[in-house]
Each structure stands twice: as structure tokens, then as C-alpha cells.
């Protein structure tokens, strides 16, 4: 736990109003648009000893994908063949508003989640294994359990862009796996089913009855929206969370991918036409979790100064959009930095090798 984590841990970040409620306490509904795939993985037999290689082969056959960052579970586990594992944490942290696509499955399908975690525990023999949940969730209709079967549920606090820093804070001899990946692992171990679905929250102030759905991968967003019903026309429809999502331009052709955790439809009350330039209020400085200076970055990038932007730490930006959230002049700080990051990086790539190799 090096100094860096502690220092940036508690102070920086934004306190977001989570608005998780109607979706979190509702039970998980299935919404399978197509029949399940006929391919099957080879299930675990009764007396078979559970080793890490066996689990890697199983997750490869069931091509389970971890919903945190979209990497396949096999690749994550392969790293731990040589490294000793001190602890396993099943990550069910949802620190973005409206989103509860990890906490809800953990509560509703807790048997599968516990079974998956037990498989990993027997394979890696860590000292302790537990679930991790976001602490700052208030006005909930249901109660977050403190223990799921024999695994404790740890509440981890902190301001908004907290998931990545929480994982970093635990240290590098800790394996963190998404809860949904564990659920799919458990199903593959029991019945040998391949992962063909993922857990998505459909929420926002325009959605009729927001809920958590288990959706087959590849269903279009419009089907989900019709399933949950729209009260009014949303000004923004985003796939991915309200803070880091991508705007959906045509709802029929954007499909759900394994690592999308939510679909948000938001109606902005006051159309924001009163634009102003940066007045130097300094709020984005207090908020940036990486300790960068978004004001200066925005100014240097808008004047296309590549070297001084890199010197100011442009590549350290994790794209959490906390600065754009807090900015009173409604400047697109994070979008400007992220788009230039790709543009300037990919320029370098073109010089070196082909574009799609990145």
C-alpha cells in the first residue's frame, strides 16, 4: 500500500447522489431475446479436484468475460498461476449513480456468487475471500447483507471515482473478480452453460420502471428501452453509466456488450445555453482523483500544445469525468483531454506501426 494510494484516497473525488433505489431492490428479471447457444462447456464432475488450470480451461470454454474492464476471466486467472494470492475480493462496487448491475445480482443470485467464490478459494488457497460493496448508498429500500453464506461483505467508502482506486488500494497480491463473472463461472461449473448473457441496469429519470435485467449479449438498446417503458423523451440516452457512458445515436443498432453495466435515459431540466469560459474557480482541481490540473490542461490542449500537455500529466487522466461533472461553466474538460489523448497517441502509432494493432 504505497503512499500514493493513501494520499489520493479519501480527499479527492465527487460526492454523487446515487439515486440507486428503484432498480436495486427490485428482483432480477430475465430478458432473453434469443434462444441460448447450443455450445456447452465441460462441467465439473462430482469428485474432481478444483485446480487453477481446470478453472482457466473452464472459463475459456465458457468464454466468461469479467464485466469490470471487459477482459476474459481466463486471462486474469492465468496471471495468478505463478504469483502467490493473499486475498480474493469479489468486486460488487457500483459507485456510479443509477447503476446497480453488480450489487443486485450479488444479492439476488447469492448462491451462485458464493459457489463461484468458493471455487476460486479452493483453487488459490488465499488467506481470506470476501465480497466488496460501495458504502455510500443511502435511502435504500432493501438491506445489504453483511454475510453471504460464509463470505463476509465488506463496505468500502470513498468519493465517486472510487472503484479503480479501491482496487489499487487493496494492494497487488489481491485478486479482484467481478461478481457477475463469478456467477457465470458457477453456472458453467454446475451445468456447463456458456456465458451468453450479462447483467444490465436500465435506469434514469425518463424510464418508467427501472430494473436490473439479465440480458443476452447483443440485444439492441431499443428492445431494452421498450421493455422498461419511457415516460418522456430523454435528452440524453447513454450506454454505460451516466458518468462514463457513450451517447446512443440510433437505439436499434447499438448492442449490449459484456462490459456494459447500464443504459441511462436522462432528461435535463434546464437546457443549458448560457455558456461561459473557464473563470478559474478551482473546483475541478479539488475534485481530480489523479491530482492533475484540468484547467491548465484544457487551456494548453485547446491551443494544441502537445508537449506541455504531456508534461502536465495528460496520460495520467483515467477519464472519470469528475471534473466535467463539477465544472460550473459546463466545459467538456474530460472529453477534450480524452479525445486528444487518443488523437495524439494514435498519431504516434501510425508513425510506428499499423493502426489496428493498438
Amino acid at each position: 500500500m504505497n503512499l500514493h494510494n493513501l494520499k489520493f484516497w479519501s480527499r479527492k473525488g465527487v460526492i454523487l447522489e446515487q439515486k440507486k433505489e428503484p432498480a436495486l431492490s427490485r428482483d432480477l428479471q430475465q430478458f432473453f431475446s434469443s434462444q441460448p447457444t447450443s455450445a456447452t462447456a465441460e462441467a465439473l464432475k462430482e469428485g474432481e479436484t478444483v485446480t487453477l488450470e481446470r478453472l482457466i480451461r473452464l472459463s475459456e470454454e465458457a468464454n466468461i468475460i469479467d464485466e469490470q474492464d471487459g477482459k476474459p476471466l481466463a486471462k486474469i486467472l492465468r496471471k495468478w498461476l505463478t504469483k502467490p494470492c493473499n486475498r480474493i475480493v469479489a468486486d460488487a462496487i457500483d459507485d456510479e449513480p443509477y447503476v446497480s448491475s453488480q450489487t443486485n445480482p450479488m444479492m439476488k443470485l447469492s448462491a451462485d456468487a458464493a459457489y463461484g467464490l468458493r471455487l476460486l478459494q479452493t483453487a488459490l488457497q488465499p488467506k481470506s475471500a470476501e465480497f466488496a460493496v460501495y458504502k455510500e448508498m443511502y435511502y435504500l429500500n432493501c438491506r445489504i447483507p453483511t454475510k453471504i453464506e460464509e463470505f463476509p461483505v465488506r463496505k468500502m467508502g470513498g468519493k465517486y471515482p472510487m472503484e479503480k482506486r479501491a482496487v489499487r488500494r487493496l494492494g497487488d497480491d489481491v485478486l479482484t473478480v467481478g461478481v457477475c463473472a463469478l456467477i457465470h463461472l458457477a453456472r458453467a461449473a454446475k451445468e456447463g452453460t456458456v456465458q451468453s448473457s450479462c447483467f444490465v441496469t436500465v435506469a434514469g429519470n425518463c424510464i418508467g420502471n427501472p430494473a436490473n435485467l439479465e440480458v443476452t449479449i447483443g440485444t439492441p438498446v431499443s428492445a431494452l428501452i421498450d421493455r422498461c417503458g419511457l415516460i418522456t423523451d430523454p435528452t440524453y440516452l447513454a450506454i454505460g453509466s451516466a458518468m462514463k457512458g457513450i451517447a446512443v445515436l440510433d437505439a436499434d443498432n447499438t448492442l449490449v456488450r459484456p462490459n456494459t453495466n447500464a443504459i441511462i435515459a436522462i432528461k435535463e431540466s434546464k437546457p443549458n445555453l448560457r455558456r461561459m469560459d473557464c473563470i478559474g474557480c478551482g473546483r475541478c482541481l479539488e475534485v481530480c482523483p489523479e491530482g492533475l490540473n484540468p484547467m491548465e490542461l484544457y487551456r494548453t490542449i485547446s491551443v494544441n500544445r502537445r508537449e506541455s500537455a504531456k508534461l502536465l500529466g495528460m496520460d495520467r487522466c483515467i477519464g472519470c469525468a469528475a471534473c466535467s461533472y463539477i465544472c460550473p461553466s459546463r466545459l467538456e474538460l474530460c472529453e477534450m483531454i480524452q479525445s486528444r489523448k487518443e488523437k495524439w497517441n494514435c498519431n504516434k502509432q501510425e508513425v510506428k506501426g499499423n493502426e489496428n494493432e493498438r
Partner: protein, 326 residues
């Protein structure tokens, strides 16, 4: 449904920067009431003229520079009010208007509008006016006498506390008069309690950082207690120093202008300290009366330097604590 593309995030904090600017304008209204209480309706007329001149100049400069009419931006109102409040109540009308025009057309327009000016427009306007019409701004009317709307020779003008201090005399102001602030001085800056109340309001609205005015006043009182008149004790000289020039007013409203401040908290502290040091140097060796305004104008030139220094510090610190690769 109409899909409009917008980059993330899709939810925003409700605070808006037009509202931020309006807060400073609201915080500037109580000193106007005090001025109206001391000097009658004339101070309101002076304030109104300056604000109208500043806002009109800002609109014209926005249109000329093709930036588009931004009528919701309240920063020219703040500039106009500050200029009016630092003038004596018996000032002829055309002087604050010229200061406001200079402040907007020379300090804000060439740099590109509201968020980009390097110098504090009110400070530059006042510097220009004290340079050109210094003699008319030197003496102040006596408080608690309502002035006629058009000032003629019948109005008795006395010297303010700052000019007395400059000439080595000790302003004979009793403690309770100091607290109430009814001694000769610029329109809005004599009453310390009202300004402190406005400071608290600004702090609550998170418009002003608490440590900027604090370091400024602390360094000045440090200086004032060190070098003072022979028959003034350290504590008295601090109080006289704070009250004489329009120091408190500058510390609360002009020093904490968000546009001209450095960006990092460490830079803001450095900025406040240099402003205090230069104010005291101007006060001892300078010729001009409102030395705090000139010193502020000079320290505005150092903000990019402080930004660069403090930013280098952060870059070094980031590289020392190891880069976090995802």
C-alpha cells in the same frame, strides 16, 4: 425520439458560473448600503453610473471580438461596483465612468473576455484614474452628512486616514469609531464589520478560498507590527494599517477574484504573500495613496510564474510517488 450527441458525463452539478459571478455582485451590495447610510443617495448614483458604463463596455467588446453577446455574465457588474466603492463619495461622475471604460476596454477586451484577463480590471481602472485625476481623489467628504447630488464647493472635504499616515501623522480615530467605520475614507471600504460579514457569505457560497485573505492580512499585520511609528504600539499600528488604506476591502473582493488567481492552493498562498509584501513596500516607499490596488496589479503579473513553479512541484511529486499504470 431525437437523439443528440453529447460527450459524457450526462449528469452535472447544479452550480453554474453565472451564479458564481452573481454571488460576488450580491456580496458587494451591503457596502453600498453603508455608503448610502454615510453619504446619502449620491453614492448610489455613482455606483449605478459605473455599473452601467462597465456592462455597456463589456457588451460592446464582446460583440467586437465576435465572442457573442453574453448578457448573463455578471463580472462587469462586479468590476463597476468595486471601482465605485473605492472612490470618495464626492467624486465627479465622469471619473468612475472613465475608470470602468478603461477597465473593460484595455484590460479585458484585448485578452479575450471574461475568463482570460491576466490583470484585475478594477485594479487597473483605479490605477489609471489615480494616475490621471489623482488630486480629485485625494480628499474625502465627512461621513454622516448627506451629500447633494451635484457636488460644488460648499462640500467640506478632509484628508483620509491613508494620507495622514503617509505624512507621518497618526490618524486620531477612537476605537469605537474604527469599529463603526465612520471616519473619512473611500465610499465602501471604511466599515470593517460589513466587509467581514460579506466575506463569510462568500466563504459559505464556496466562492472564495479562506486562506487567501487570511495569509494576506496576516503577512501585512506581521509587517505592520515590525515597522511602526515610534509612539504607536504594535497592536495599534496593525489596526491603523488595516483600517487606513482600503486594505480589508481589497483583501476580500479584489484579491480573491478567481480569474486572476493562480490555480493551485500553494500558488494562491504565494500570491497572497507577495501581494502583502509589495503592498507594504508601496506603502512605505510609494507615493500613491491606495497602495493596495497598485500592489495587487503588480502581483497579477506574477501569477503565471507561480502557476509554473507550483505545477513543476506537482510534476516532480507525481513522478516520485510512481506512476499508476492501469
Amino acid at each position: 425520439m431525437k437523439m443528440n450527441a453529447k460527450p459524457f458525463p450526462y449528469i452535472r452539478a447544479e452550480e453554474r458560473s453565472p451564479m458564481l459571478m452573481l454571488d460576488t455582485a450580491i456580496a458587494l451590495i451591503p457596502p453600498f448600503f453603508m455608503a448610502c447610510f454615510y453619504y446619502g443617495m449620491r453614492s448610489l448614483a455613482v455606483g449605478a453610473f459605473t455599473v452601467i458604463a462597465a456592462v455597456a463596455a463589456n457588451w460592446i467588446s464582446d460583440l467586437c471580438s465576435g465572442r457573442g453577446l453574453e448578457w448573463w455574465d455578471a463580472s462587469p457588474v462586479v468590476t463597476g461596483m468595486i471601482i465605485a466603492l473605492l472612490m470618495p463619495a464626492s467624486v465627479p461622475y465622469y471619473i468612475p465612468i472613465i475608470a470602468a471604460l478603461f477597465a473593460i476596454f484595455v484590460v479585458k477586451f484585448p485578452y479575450g473576455g471574461t475568463g482570460h484577463n491576466l490583470f484585475n480590471p478594477a485594479a487597473a481602472g483605479l490605477a489609471f484614474v489615480t494616475l490621471c485625476f489623482g488630486d480629485q481623489l485625494a480628499n474625502y467628504p465627512i461621513p454622516l452628512e448627506t451629500l447633494p447630488m451635484t457636488v460644488d464647493e460648499t462640500v467640506k472635504l478632509t484628508q483620509g486616514a491613508a494620507s495622514l499616515l503617509k505624512m507621518g501623522a497618526i490618524p486620531t480615530i477612537s476605537m469605537e469609531q474604527l469599529a463603526l467605520g465612520n471616519f473619512a475614507g473611500p465610499m465602501g471600504t471604511t466599515n470593517i464589520l460589513v466587509i467581514a460579514a460579506c466575506l463569510i457569505y462568500l466563504l459559505i457560497r464556496r466562492n472564495v478560498k479562506w486562506y487567501v485573505p487570511l495569509t494576506y492580512l496576516a503577512t501585512i499585520s506581521l509587517f505592520a507590527s515590525r515597522v511602526h511609528h515610534e509612539n504607536l504600539s504594535a497592536a495599534e499600528s496593525i489596526i491603523v494599517e488595516l483600517v487606513a488604506g482600503s486594505l480589508m476591502f481589497v483583501a476580500v473582493y479584489m484579491l480573491t477574484e478567481p480569474v486572476t488567481l493562480p490555480k493551485r492552493p500553494m500558488g494562491k498562498v504565494l500570491y497572497a504573500m507577495t501581494a502583502a509584501v509589495i503592498t507594504m513596500l508601496f506603502r512605505y516607499y510609494g507615493v500613491v495613496l491606495n497602495s493596495a490596488v497598485f500592489a495587487l496589479l503588480l502581483t497579477n503579473a506574477f501569477t503565471p510564474l507561480f502557476d509554473r513553479l507550483v505545477e513543476q512541484g506537482h510534476i516532480v511529486e507525481r513522478s516520485v510517488t510512481g506512476s499508476e499504470d492501469e
